[in-house]
Every structure is written in structure tokens, then in C-alpha cells.
Amino acid sequence: MEMESSLEIENPYLPRLMKVQKIRVETENIKTFEFEKTFGHLPGQFVELSVFGAGEVPISISSAPPNLELTVNRVGIVTNAIYDLEVGDVVGIRGPYGNGWPTDALRGKNIVIVGGGIGLAPLRGLVQMILSERKNYGKLYILYGARTPSDLVFKQDLENWSKAPANLFVTVDRADEHWKGNVGVVTTLFPKTDITPENAIALICGPGIMMKFVVKSLKALNFEDNQIVVSMERVMKCGIGKCGHCNIGAKYVCIDGPVFNYKEIANIPTELK
Amino acid sequence: MKEEPRIIGFLCNWCSYAGADLAGISRIKYPPNLKAIRVMCTGRLNPLFVLKSFQMGADGVLVAGCHPGDCHYTSGNMHARRRMAVMRRLLDYMGIDKRRFRVEWVSASEGTKFAGVVEEMTDELKKLGPLKAWRAKNEKNE
């Protein structure tokens, strides 16, 4: 059989091999993995992370560049395999993929960051970036909610942010005996803040149902659709707009997102389920 | 070199696994072709276990449990007896010779019987030759 020369194109499905350098336990089910600083990324982008034999999953990058940190909650086969990784283990990484937060559009604006559970992960890099060049931005509100105090991620960061020039509000759905903070879902934090829609942008990431209600609360505060930015989660198999899984209407979460202006997806009925 | 038959044995924890143990302790010689997998009861056996064994390259599958009436869980093996009867005929119909799938009742004291069953089955499988048919092969149209 005659062979023809192969196309000289890069294979986007081939992950690069990387070693786990550090592991931090966040909660009972969540760990943060640190890798070598090899590629630049934007806060809010994600990578496709492979544990060979278990499979590949999209994971958002939880650090500001140049650090590469991935925070993973064990929920399925692959994320459980990731959770079991040890320092020195080899994984495959493709990316970074996706658009990331609209950092240019945030300059000079008052910023409202709302995270739910592990949804704080893609927002963490953004907060780190804003704090590192604080004078370029207006007011900074960080609203964060988790189910219980033990489900709060990035405890050290929360501690730091509470001392930084930012307004941090943390809440839990269910308190334990040591919890002295707010109790209730994340939307119960809004009345405690002085957030106004003037010159503001809100950035949200969390479970679908939480985002749905946060959008409602923001709209009650007279935020326009285009002042709301969300980071979406969908099943993804390729990360590069081929496999079809992550579509929301005509958009692909992997290449058109994962960050969307709420205006772009507001009229598709399945958007924030 | 001739390929040695590979047998996957699903042995119930309370009788047949102990029976296999006894065969070992009593130093009864029997062929090393059986890979034993302990299950709590033959009643726990999902038909997929048997199918998957054949698919992954077993030449024979043995299911061994307590004698009917002696189940540690009262009736697990009685249910298994019915299921395996159906399974055995079904596999035969699909083209996997009946002799490749055996169901035996071996108690904890029947070390000799266990060794005998394995020996008999190994001999039989040697005569039948390897079961190539079901083994994983793939990729068409390339």
C-alpha cells in the first residue's frame, strides 16, 4: 500500500507530560495541585488534564500566571484518579484553553466577584491578579459561599484577602459550632454590601443553580445583562471545539467560553441549569 | 510452544475458596491454570463476570460454590444455580462450548474434589484448544 506523507500539523490531542510538584489539601474532597511554570495563561482559562488510564477532564486554572495550579473536586472516575495523585506523578496537560475573564474590560471598574463552592477556583487567579495591580481597579467585592465551613476552599487566600484592600464576605449554608460568620446561601450576602451597578461588573462562578439566583439578585440591584459575566461548566471531551459536547446554543463553552457575558446566553432556556 | 489454557474461577468465600485452600494445605497437586477470584457467594455473580472473563481472554470459566442447601446466606447458590443454567446454555448457543463454562459445588472439606475439577477442566480445555473467538480485537475499516 502506498503511503502519502503525513500532514505537517500539530496534534492538539496529544497532552504534554508534566509532573505534580506540590499538593495542597483544600477540603475532604478537594485538593490543589501545583505544576511547573511552563506556559502563560489568562485567569479563567482551563486545561485538559489527563490521568492516563482514567481519562481526561477539563479543569480550570486556579492561579494567576505564571503559576500553574489546578484545584480539583473528586466527583467522577477521572477526578478521583486525580485526587489520588502523589507528588512526582506524571499527568498529561493540554491547553490553556478558553477565553478567560475579560481582564481588559475590568480596568477602572468596580468589581463584584461571586463564587460558590469550588467555583471560586477560576476566580482566584483573577483576584490574585487584581490585588497585584490594585490601583488599576475600583472597588473590589468578593462574595463567597460554601455548604459548610469545612467546604470552604483556599482558606489561606480568604485570610489574606480579608486583610487586603477588598470587601470580602463569606457565608456557609450550614454552620458548625465554631462558625461565627454569615449563615445562608451566597445571595443573602448582597444586602450586607453596598454594591451598586454604577461602573460595575459582576463575575460569577459556581453551581448552575447558584449562578441562576446570583443573576437574579444582581438584576434586582439593577445590573444590566451585559454587566454580568459568568463562567460555565459543561461536559467537554476535546477542549478545542470539535467534540460537540459543551455547546450552549451556537456557542461552545471550550472555545467561546468558558467565560460568557450573560447577554450572550440569556435567551437560551437551558443556560444556567 | 503450546498455549496453556487459562481458567478464571469464581469461588465462593465460604465453601469453594476454603476447599481450594484445603487442596493447597493438603498439598494435593493440580494444574496451575486456574486464577481464583473470591466472591462472597455464587449468588453475587453477575453474568457480566463470566462474559468479561471470556472477552478478556479466558479459555474457561469455573463457578464454584456451596452445595445446594448449604449456602451461608441460605439461598444464594440456589439463585445462582438457576442463573448459571440459563447462562451456560446461552453461551453454548453463542458458540462457546458448554465444556468451557462449568458450575460445581465444592464444600470446604472437599479439597480433593476441587483439585479434581480443576484437573479435569484443564485437560478438557487442552483438548478444546484456546478460545480465540471472543478475545478483544478491534479496529475495522482501516
Binding site: G76, I77 | P47, L48, L51, K52, Q55, P68, G69, S75, M78, H79, R81, R82, R83, M84, A85, V86, M87, R88, R89, L90, L91, D92, Y93, M94, G95, I96, D97, V103, A133, W134, R135, A136, K137, N138, E139, K140
Partner: protein
């Protein structure tokens, strides 16, 4: 050619179906599951009752849809379909008092080429075994035909295997056979549970064989040989030949036939002291 009397009979049945549908809906039934000119249809509105038809092409086994409904429904059921309905009731998927069965004695369904379907040629249950109202004249039942199974059984193992291998190498794993099966009512199929790694999305003949044999085994004492799986298969794989083997074996081994009555316990969830050895 169909006899004139048969044509008349068919028209009479259609009128009767519409009448029953109307009265059921006006008595508060949630839905009537029947046939329209495009196959299965769901009539919820009295005004739409006229869409219902009965003709020689009403092949679908509508009992598949019953578990989707919570309220009272009326359903059009042929002889063969009624067996599936018995199994659904027996396995607590449908409650008998929530379904009004419009049973139809059927003289066989025609395919696109206007020939009787293979399964209709030797129909063992032309008349429903369970119904609230029975339409049509009772045709004579025939003995269940296992000749194709016996024929395959008589071949040597290698030939049997190569037969199935050739057939299943065509399978594209669309799961139509499973999804159309009335007794495949599990909310989540074992085959879809990727966590378990028992099945793979990898399409290879051994993988496909494992899927089909697993499914066959799971429906061994529930399959009523309604033949919907075989009809649905886009690759024309004679899967019914597999399921009929199980019906035959279960009858030979335990004297049980699925779908005949509501009382008998399915053999694979029970046992007896004097069962045959495997």
C-alpha cells in the same frame, strides 16, 4: 390480498378505539396511547381523538411508553404487546388500576413491502392475554415457533459463533434494541455506567457481543419476543433469535413463559429445591 371481511373488521376496530378514547378522556384519563398515521401517538385532548387509527401498519409496542405516565392512561394493545404489559405490571413498572387496556385481536402486521412481519407469521398470541375491552374476533393461536433457534442450535460451535460474529460485527451500538424494549425499564442501564468499567464505548465485536449477551440475560425471564428490538435494528441484526433462545430455555428449564399471567413468579428471582443442575 386481504379479504373484504377483514378490511371491514379493521374499520370497525378503529371506530371502537376512538369511542373508547373519547369516553376515557372525558372521564379524566391523562392520555390515550395509540396509533396515528405516523406511528405511536399520545392523545390528551378530546378534539384530537380523530387522529387515532387502526390498520395493518400499527406495529409499535406501545407499552414501552406506559412507565412515562403517572396518571390514568388508556392504551391500545395487540396480542403480542399484552405480554409485555403483563411483565411491566408484574415488575411494578405499571400499576394495573391506572391503565385501561384497549385490547385488539390482531391478524398480523404488514411491513413496508406489504408482507407480514416475520414474527406475525407464526403468532402465538394474536389475542391479548390481559385487557379491559377486547376488540376484534379472536383468531386461533399457534404454538410458539422456535424452529430458527433449533436450526442454529444444530450447527457446530464454530459456525454458531461465526454467525453471531458476522451479525454483531455490524452493530453500531445505537442501543435502539435496548431503548425500544418494553422490559428494559431500568432507569439507568448497567451498560451506560462508565464508572464500573464493565462496558466500554470502544466498539469492537467482542465488546458488542458482551453487550448483547448481557442484555439478553437480563431480560431472560421477561422477554416476550415482541420483536421490537429486531424491527428497530438499523443493521438488520436478527437479535430476536437470541432472545427466543432464552424464552425456549427458560420454558424447558423452569416451565415458565413470560407474559402469560400476573401470578407466576419470574424464575430468575426464585428457585426450587429440585432445579436442574447447570
Amino acid at each position: 390480498m386481504r379479504k373484504m371481511s377483514e378490511v371491514h373488521e379493521i374499520a370497525k376496530i378503529e371506530i371502537a378505539i376512538k369511542e373508547h378514547a373519547s369516553s376515557l378522556l372525558s372521564e379524566g384519563a391523562e392520555c390515550i396511547i395509540g396509533y396515528d398515521k405516523d406511528g405511536p401517538c399520545f392523545i390528551e385532548d378530546l378534539k384530537e381523538v380523530d387522529k387515532l387509527v387502526w390498520n395493518n401498519h400499527c406495529i409499535h409496542n406501545l407499552t414501552k411508553y406506559l412507565p412515562d405516565f403517572e396518571g390514568k392512561v388508556g392504551i391500545v394493545v395487540k396480542g403480542c404487546d399484552s405480554l409485555s404489559l403483563v411483565e411491566l405490571i408484574k415488575h411494578n413498572q405499571v400499576s394495573r388500576d391506572k391503565v385501561f387496556i384497549i385490547g385488539i385481536s390482531c391478524s398480523g402486521i404488514l411491513n413496508e413491502k406489504k408482507e407480514k412481519y416475520k414474527k406475525c407469521k407464526n403468532c402465538s398470541h394474536p389475542s391479548p392475554v390481559i385487557y379491559d375491552v377486547l376488540l376484534g374476533e379472536k383468531p386461533v393461536p399457534k404454538e410458539e415457533d422456535h424452529s430458527d433457534v433449533v436450526e442454529l442450535e444444530s450447527l457446530p460451535h464454530e459456525e454458531r459463533f461465526s454467525f453471531w460474529e458476522r451479525m454483531f460485527s455490524k452493530c453500531i451500538k445505537c442501543f435502539a434494541c435496548r431503548n425500544i424494549c418494553p422490559v428494559c425499564f431500568c432507569k439507568e442501564c448497567l451498560i451506560d455506567r462508565r464508572e464500573s468499567k464493565w462496558s466500554s464505548k470502544f466498539v469492537s465485536t467482542p465488546e458488542i457481543l458482551t453487550y448483547h449477551v448481557t442484555r439478553a440475560f437480563h431480560v431472560a425471564d421477561m422477554c416476550t419476543a415482541c420483536g421490537e428490538c429486531e424491527r428497530a435494528c438499523p443493521m438488520k441484526i436478527p437479535v430476536l433469535k437470541l432472545y427466543k433462545k432464552l424464552r425456549k430455555d427458560v420454558k424447558e428449564l423452569f416451565g415458565y413463559e413470560a407474559g402469560l399471567n400476573l401470578e407466576e413468579t419470574p424464575p430468575l428471582i426464585s428457585f426450587s429445591e429440585d432445579d436442574p443442575e447447570p
